[in-house]
């Protein structure tokens, strides 16, 4: 019997024009959590898709418990004890939770589904994982955290020997992460192996036993988190150095200058028509200021900025833009007034995957390239090229489809799109979610450049270091209400968390809160 439960040897995979994996290896021991790290585009997800049978590798071999495995479809992978919790969760929204859990392997006889058995099994499974979810509830109505747990429950029920977690915590709150880790720890002690993909150092160091690092489709190395002989722990800096191949001294570029006293946007008592959404939001945004908005998932931050941009309706309250009354009618109107919104869900509401970078860059600004409705191709090319170069988008050409770029480069294209519109107020919703360290730094630099040019930024971020490192001021929201402001100098994770968890007491004394 081999030392490893899973061995992937010399895996190679080429996509048109890109060598995504080049002789990569991965060895996972039984009953361990194996972190797989690397910048975006390093090939982690591709490697996992090869393991899960979604891609067929061009070369290399996979061994399970010492035996060579043939995996050509998700079904085969699952039959051999491999389960994957995907980064982007895709529940069947209009079906029940239990049907999602048993998708593809419904219990029953002769093609007839046994609903009672399915309910009971799901219930037992959820009780075991301490999940309080009705198996009959619609999957589309569940939070990201519950969907995540649902997927894990599925893997547990399949008696998976290896569970791949691809960025499992990107949309979870701290409390939910804790619950997830509790479950991971329990399964690990039962002998289940995990492959854990994440960008969050703290989590990696907390949960994993070993770390494999990849860079640009190549294997860099594998290290135990705690060195058995010396008892030394891996450090943040070491991992980052291996990932980017260079030393990273500063996570955030230095901020020069201060916000001016001039108020560009004044929001007063803005309320959503929905009772559970944002209520009574008031703040001022100064020229050349980065206003960070912090809070947990469900704090209605995204909903609020979407309303500001005219994507959602506002029931009451005043908004003054450059001292003139502003009503958000629709995004086109907001755009004409100098607002720009970089949305949270890059794939769903950001990129046009099947269009080239050029079209993706100019889409919000096409009117300026048109004369009598006919687009000036040359001008578009020039400007898109200029912006993309300035933002250091790594691509062979502007005709490359945006879906072939890494997340960080996609995000830079989207920022270029809004910079072309010459907007004065940039609203960035999770601008660095799911992108790698190097690209993050570049995006921070772009933000500071814009500030220097006299623009203002509203930035929603769930990453505390980013929020504290970049903001001039932080507004914290909880359940749709603004629970407080913090000025530069008084930031601390504890203070932000305290404000972010200032839940209104439900019931009689809700007015007191």
């Amino acid at each position: 019997m081999s030392e490893y439960l899973l061995e992937m040897k010399n895996i190679t995979k080429t996509f048109p024009g890109v060598k995504a994996l080049d002789n990569v290896q991965l060895n996972v021991r039984k009953g361990t959590v194996h972190a797989l790290m690397g910048e975006n585009g390093a090939g982690k997800s591709t490697l996992m898709k090869c393991l899960f049978g979604i891609y067929n590798p061009d070369g290399g071999e996979i061994f399970l418990e010492g035996k060579k495995a043939n995996i050509h479809s998700a079904r085969q992978a699952m039959d051999q004890g491999i389960a994957m919790v995907h980064q982007e969760l895709h529940p069947i929204r209009f079906r029940s939770v239990m049907e999602n859990v048993y998708l593809g392997r419904f219990p029953g006889h002769m093609g007839v589904v046994d609903h009672k058995a399915m309910y009971d099994k799901t219930k037992a499974l959820f009780d075991d994982l301490e999940l309080d979810v009705d198996p009959l509830a619609l999957a589309g109505e569940q939070s990201a955290a519950i969907l995540q747990m649902m997927e894990i429950a599925r893997a547990v029920d399949m008696k998976a020997k290896i569970i791949i977690l691809d960025e499992p915590t990107s949309s979870l709150s701290d409390r939910e992460v804790e619950h997830l880790f509790k479950i991971v720890n329990r399964l690990r002690s039962q002998g289940v192996a995990f492959v854990y993909i994440s960008h969050k150092m703290k989590e990696i160091l907390e949960i994993s036993d070993e770390v494999t690092i990849m860079r640009d489709g190549q294997y860099v190395g594998t290290w135990p988190v705690v060195n058995k002989e010396t008892g030394e722990k891996l450090t943040n800096d070491f991992i980052i150095k291996q990932m980017v191949g260079r030393e990273m001294t500063n996570q955030f570029p230095p901020r020069e200058g201060k916000p001016s006293a001039e108020v560009v946007l004044k929001v007063e008592h803005v309320c959503s028509p929905l009772r559970k959404s944002f209520q009574d939001v008031s703040f001022e945004l100064h020229k050349q200021e980065i206003l960070g908005i912090g809070g947990l998932v469900g704090a209605q931050r995204t909903e609020f900025v979407e309303a500001l941009f005219g994507l959602r309706s506002i029931a009451s309250g005043n908004i003054l833009l450059n001292n003139a009354s502003y009503t958000s009618k629709n995004p086109g109107f907001a755009k004409s007034k100098g607002l720009a919104l970089l949305t949270e869900e890059r794939r769903a509401t950001g990129i046009f995957g099947i269009l080239p970078i050029l079209e993706n860059t100019v889409i919000a600004n096409q009117r300026n390239y048109a004369h009598l409705g006919i687009l000036n191709q040359r001008k578009m090319l020039e400007e898109a090229d200029r912006e993309c170069k300035k933002l250091n988008v790594k691509t062979p050409s502007l005709q490359t489809l945006i879906q072939n770029l890494s997340g960080g480069n996609q995000q830079k294209v989207l920022i270029a799109r809004w910079l072309l519109t010459n907007s004065d107020i940039l609203i960035l919703d999770e601008p660095t979610r799911g992108i790698d360290v190097g690209a993050k730094y570049e995006i921070y630099n772009i933000m500071l450049e814009q500030i220097a040019q006299g623009r203002s930024i509203i930035m929603i971020s769930s990453e505390m270091p980013e929020l504290m490192g970049m903001s001039d001021r932080i507004m914290v929201m909880c359940e749709g209400r603004v629970t407080g402001f913090l000025n530069k100098g008084e930031y601390s994770q504890e203070k932000i968390m305290a404000l972010a968890t200032q839940f209104a007491a439900h019931g009689k004394d809700s007015s007191a809160a």
Partner: protein, 402 residues
Amino acid sequence: MAENKSKRLFTIAGLVILALGIVLYFAKAPLGLNRKIYDLPIFLIIIGVCFALKGFMAKPVVNELNKVSFGEFLTNNAILLAMLVLVVVICILQPRFMQIRVALDILTQSSTKLIMALGICFTLLIAGTDLSAGRMVGLAAVVSASMMQTATYANRFFPDLPQVQVWLPIVIAIVACMIFGALNGFLVAKYDMHPFIATLAVQVIIYGACSLYFDMPPNNSQPIGGIRADFAQLGQMRLFSGAFKGFPGISILIPIAIVICIVIWFILNKTVFGKNVYAIGGNREAAVVAGINVFRNIMGIFILASCLYGIAGVLEAARTAGATNNYGNGYELDAIAACVVGGVSLNGGIGKVGGIIMGVLIFTIIQYGLQFINVSPMWQQVIKGVIIAVAVAIDLTKYRRK
């Protein structure tokens, strides 16, 4: 509390309607209302019983979120309510509408449409469509009718064909449809073709093939007639006719449609195949990742659907005791419209048999009712179009939450 209130409301309303029906039933002859309200009391009794049962059987509402406000109730049932209003107007304008005979006519007319709609709903559930459905009806009608002519008929399609068993041509006709259904499925599943294009191509192929068959000598594109009585019975037989005075009998098409409804309901809700259909329609990626064999399921969907069109085609041939290659032309659009009005989402993953039955009935009732009060066929078209647009617009507001 709230749930008890709505339960009680339904039960009480049902009992009141029931009582009213019974009173009217015995009072109509003495009061001389026979020619004024016709069979209204019987309808009231049926509606009353349904209401009372609904109130009685309603599941208690578990949480606050499921509580439905009056406004939501109106949106959820808008098209149904509009139809009720129309029915009441027609009844006032033309009291003869309130007859059991009329109701049975409507159900009979709905039957084949319903079978088609149930077939097409599978293709809609995977966010597809099936444009070949109508032509498959024509194919099945021509194929089955061509082998079901009486021995003495002058213009026989196959002059030397012996009198075969009834089931044989039916099976041949349905299998012919299923072969084309498999072609649909293959194009969609194997080449990832959009069902709109795949089935459009197959639609044209079927019509051509069916016309070639229809044009074979000695028939040379003559309408097929002289259908054997035993075959025609399949579409024309009336059960329990004359069971009591003036009872026209229940068309055999109605029980056939009911059985097919039950079978399809079972497939959609109780079988792995049905669950897979919803899964593929709801989120194809997730289905693939969950290890569902999408190819096989899509093939199954199109073959099953074409089987239902085949049944509908055979029944059409039997009902009209004849066939031409133009049978079924455009039926697919009516079926799609009925599905959509019945709440099937064109984006896939949403749709129930109950809704489809409602959709088909609404269309037939409105069409029949408008004919009944002599609305011109041109206006009927306009009204039909408006219903489709309004119904879908209202339906979509349910899913739009902003």
